[in-house]
Symmetry: D2
Subunit: 229 residues, 4 copies
């Protein structure tokens, strides 16, 4: 299976573990409404998919499934798991397992965007090396304290209290095309935090070849919506 | 694809259109919680599945998908569609299509169960042939009226108002193993209406070979729960 | 409690049974995100509500509840209950109760709209009185057959098979402002069947006085979206 | 409004902000199924509630709403937010606000339970004072680093990466009686982490006076289920 590294640190990862359904299956589900079936996929089917998506007839896009395995920092996982509808999760438990001491280290600082409250900009801060040292020292102490507490006998569920939000976690994420597109609408957007945007782009990159017409229609629609703002 | 006829009238049907996931995938999802993976399926994996189900750790059972195509009377469809969580539907539309005049004719009458308010019993009523004639006449007139209204130009969405609850409809039903087992707990149960029990049994019959250990554990659990009542 | 009669036949009804939450509570929920609270409602709060809705930050609109009691024909109930997210239902059961023989009789026929596949137009059909007689006769026979089957001892769940889709049913419908607005977007729309549009309008009429700023913003947004089409 | 302090540190809190519905409303919703209404609450109504709960007829328990405001450590919030069905959240955002440096300090260590993998036991560790110093030092450095990063201009969403899982967060949690009872079944249970058990107990303590018969039945059922294990 293809494995992407959204944060380019050899720790983060997004893998598409299993997939079920296709553009043709979406057309089949839609045609059930008309008492008809779909045998093959051509120009007409492509147009139907675009029409359904544009008119928010999303139910035919639910009869499929994408199962991903994702390794990501806790603060990204917290944003991710706000998604509740049409999604399933199984995450590594810090109660049952000692967590690996993998941490996300940003390789460039960002400052708040002056124009857009929700955005941030990559910059060269004059003391950036010094800040990075402090960041690393802080999480290094956290990691050591975690280890010391566990060695002293403290239960894992309590020891983890010191672990920082940049600690990596891992989960299985299952969705269908409707919940995935909803995720992408919110998280592949410039208003989302940069890190989760990278994950959203990877989810899309892995899904797109399996539903080419659906993604073509979705991208076209996104473009039109932007022009209408 | 195997096609079953739950109501034995050559009109009703349940087909398993597409399936994704397996018992092994359930174990894999569960082991993510422990930071581990699952390579092969053996006795240990079977025990884990039984343990998970017994202790209601159902999240690992969500990362799979079963897509069914079902033809069923409207009154069964109404009971079915009360299920909202982890399920998707696409149904033939009586607004876009003229509905085929297929009707469910019970081949034996049932009376209320004297002991159990929610149940009914098959009986020989003395005037059963006469009752069946009345039933058939009523739906025959309904079907003819539907046709006449449409031929007179009345829109389909209004003409269907006369169609009876035994009219057949068709939908795609998509679920995962958690929502399927919840459906079976309620609908393959003796408190459910006899007709939907037949459909529930067919759903199970088609799913079981794909998740043998999960269904083994589910059946065992059902037996134990009954003994505890 | 105010009771509306959406289909103007003294049988249909929509009542708002209970309500919890207000525009101010929506602002409070939104301000939690900023670590702030909301004390009073003014121009700034109204603008915040419009901003949230426009930018699809819908989560603050979920912390409220509207409980309706609705009497409606079965074919409308079937469209209604396709809504699964953020909604709850309790419906009169045709298994536990003998259903009252209340039927919806359209007081004017509609034909398919030549331009819009999903729409229909009110018309004077030349033989409309005759069609109405046939419609009434068909449902009259259905009602009588239902009664006869029950009197002969047939269980209610089976006798109802003959009842037409215009039979009235009754349910409690509970939603929050997000699920209500989603319902209204789809069902108060000209593409929806005329009957369910009437119900959607009643839901809105009863809810609007309790959330005036939210509905002001929603109506404004709907207008803008139409202009962008 | 009554405010509880589940972790007894003057930082944690659970408040019931708003409530809608009652035991009588549950009976009313159930009686809709029988085409009946509920006027007053007596012994018969209490029995009906117990019967419904025992037989998992939970839909009548959905037409009510409880809105809580909760202040809790991040690791508890992460367990909490795994609940997806029939719940709504609005949480303070570490992107829009600088987070207050409030941390959870356990006032007694726990070690893993030798018998029950999922449990832990309070103990006197010989070096407990020393461990507490290390814990406090680790989170103190984390807090200082957070401040320094923000003062140096780093965007809040990135600076928070160093904050530990014991940092307090705050959210509005909205549920109905079905989703609340499901939450309590899992989280007021001895298999849940001690900290979330304290929160679950507070949720129950605040809700119980508003639904006395429902909680009476729920507690009775829980006792019976334990005896059957």
């Amino acid at each position: 299976m293809q494995k992407l590294d959204p944060l380019k640190d050899n720790l983060s990862s997004v893998e598409l573990v299993r997939i079920s359904g296709s553009d043709l299956d979406i057309v089949s589900a839609a045609r059930v409404c008309f008492g008809k079936t779909a045998e093959s996929f051509g120009e007409r089917e492509e147009k139907l998919i675009a029409y359904l998506l544009k008119n928010k007839h999303t139910s035919p896009f639910e009869h499929n499934q994408l199962v991903y395995k994702v390794k990501l920092p806790l603060f990204v996982a917290r944003q991710w798991m706000r998604h509740r509808i049409g999604v399933s999760y199984n995450e590594i438990s810090g109660r049952y397992s000692e967590l690996p001491l993998d941490f996300y280290i940003p390789n460039k600082w960002r400052i708040p965007d002056a124009k857009n409250k929700q955005s941030s900009c990559f910059v060269n801060l004059k003391n950036e090396a010094e800040l990075l040292e402090k960041y690393k020292k802080s999480i290094d102490i956290a990691g050591k304290t975690y280890k010391e507490l566990i060695e002293a006998g403290v239960t894992r569920e309590l020891a983890r209290c010191v672990l920082p939000l940049c600690t990596y976690t891992e989960f299985i994420f299952t969705c269908n095309l409707v919940s995935l597109m909803h995720f992408l609408n919110l998280r592949a957007d410039s208003h989302a935090q940069w890190e989760i945007q990278q994950y959203a782009n990877c989810l899309q990159e892995l899904a797109q070849p399996h539903f080419p017409s659906s993604f073509k229609a979705w991208i076209e629609l996104k473009k039109q919506n932007k022009e209408n703002l």
